[in-house]
């Protein structure tokens, strides 16, 4: 991992005096997907597009996106870079379209 130094740091205020982070959304550098032991796998044919999984994900890493294969209906797409594998989405899906599968060897 690249080390943060004064030059590439997101800190734009005088860093020596004030520890202030001024660059927004910089936690995106922190790929929390490495925490995961199980991954959610979505069955788009079962999904009714209710968006609940996308709303409750604590990471905010499920996006509802139009799917060509399903006549432009919206279906969830996960950013596995950040999904911690908590299983909330799978537990709450009203039609059980999400399965948690082992994500390690």
């Amino acid at each position: 991992m690249k080390k943060t130094n004064i030059k590439n740091s997101p800190i734009k205020t005088p860093a020596k005096k004030l520890a202030v982070v001024t660059a927004p959304n910089t936690s995106l550098k922190n790929k929390t997907g490495s925490w995961r032991t199980h991954r959610p796998v979505f069955d788009h044919s079962l999904c009714i597009g209710c968006s609940l999984c996308s709303k409750i994900c604590p990471e905010g890493c499920i996006v509802m996106a139009k799917q060509k294969k399903y006549g432009q209906k919206i279906k969830p797409v996960v950013d596995y870079d950040y999904c911690k594998g908590c299983g909330l989405c799978a537990k709450e899906c009203p039609v059980k379209a999400i399965k948690m599968e082992k994500d390690y060897e």
Binding site: S27, K31, C50, A65, D79
Partner: protein, 292 residues
């Protein structure tokens, strides 16, 4: 009804909250109720600590953290500065945990409400000081085992009852006071929007199940939020100008027994029938009080 919802730019992934955290799940719902013209003052606590691991930040909105106890006063200052600049568009919001709200921040919150300032205060109620290892707060309910109220042969866990913070807000005459849980994301978003539409102080308290604090599984925060409502222990409430709005209780309580809620939480697992009956009475009293 389905609507395309975008990945939340206001609260990005890459934060360090526990997998399945009910507080971060609820915070995503709060963010969906905002537009970009806001400034957030955040108290110390899990929401602040997990989203701002130096030198990173998950926030995509103007956001400031100062201390554990003073988020309300920081918000008051921001509001005064905006007024000085003639800015009436930008909304000021406080976010804090239950410790920061019920206990250490209470005096400054009271002052903010006394002055009738147009600030939305959002309390994420994990029912304990989560970030420092689950010490009991004024929001910890009867019977809960925490690190400062451990259960044991001679202890049922916390013997105190949960402070009625909503009543304290109402006693200050706040224009909008509401309660929700992480089990109802759309209710949270709707209440944030309703609170922001009100001119004057508003208070929104959200029950936010905490994985290590409640000793629940990673996938149970939303379920616990739903059960808290269904049992009557934490009803969805909304007061406008001190009056309980009829529309607030849209989720009819199914009168689920409190044991259904308690049994899956490690913090309550030691409870015997005697204590469960006491908690059932708290739920029954709520059902009567709010005519659910």
């Amino acid at each position: 009804m389905t609507k395309k919802i975008k990945n939340n730019k206001f609260l990005s992934p890459g934060h360090n909250a526990c997998a399945g955290c009910g507080q971060l799940s609820a915070a995503q719902a709060v963010m969906r109720g905002l537009n970009k013209d806001v400034i957030i003052a955040n108290a110390t606590g899990c929401l602040e600590v997990t989203t701002t691991a130096y030198p990173q930040s998950s926030w995509g909105l103007p956001w400031i953290h100062s201390l554990f106890e003073n988020a309300a006063a920081v918000a008051s200052g921001i509001l005064a500065a905006l007024a000085q600049k003639g800015d009436t568009k930008t909304k000021v919001i406080v976010q804090a945990g239950d410790g920061g709200t019920y206990d250490i921040g209470l005096g400054l919150i009271s002052g903010m409400w006394e002055r009738g300032e147009n600030i939305l205060y959002v309390c994420y109620d994990t029912e304990a000081y989560s970030n420092t290892g689950i010490q009991a707060s004024g929001a910890t309910p009867y019977g809960a085992s925490t690190t400062t109220t451990p259960d044991g042969n001679a202890s049922v866990g916390s013997t105190q009852r949960k402070k009625d913070m909503l009543a304290i807000a109402l006693a200050h005459g706040v224009n909008y006071a509401a309660q929700s849980t992480a089990g109802f994301p759309d209710d949270i978003t709707a209440k944030v929007k309703a609170a922001l539409a009100v001119d004057g102080p508003s208070y929104l308290q959200i029950l936010a199940p905490c994985i290590p604090g409640w000793k629940i599984n990673n996938d149970e925060a939303v379920l616990m939020g739903k059960l808290a409502v269904a049992t009557g222990l934490y009803p969805l409430l909304e007061y406008r100008n001190g009056k309980l709005s009829a529309s607030s209780i849209t989720v009819a309580s199914r009168k689920v027994a409190v044991s259904e809620y308690l049994k899956n939480q490690g913090r309550f697992r030691h409870l015997k029938n005697k204590e469960i009956k006491i908690i059932q009475k708290l739920a029954d009293d709520n059902l009567k009080k709010y005519r659910l």
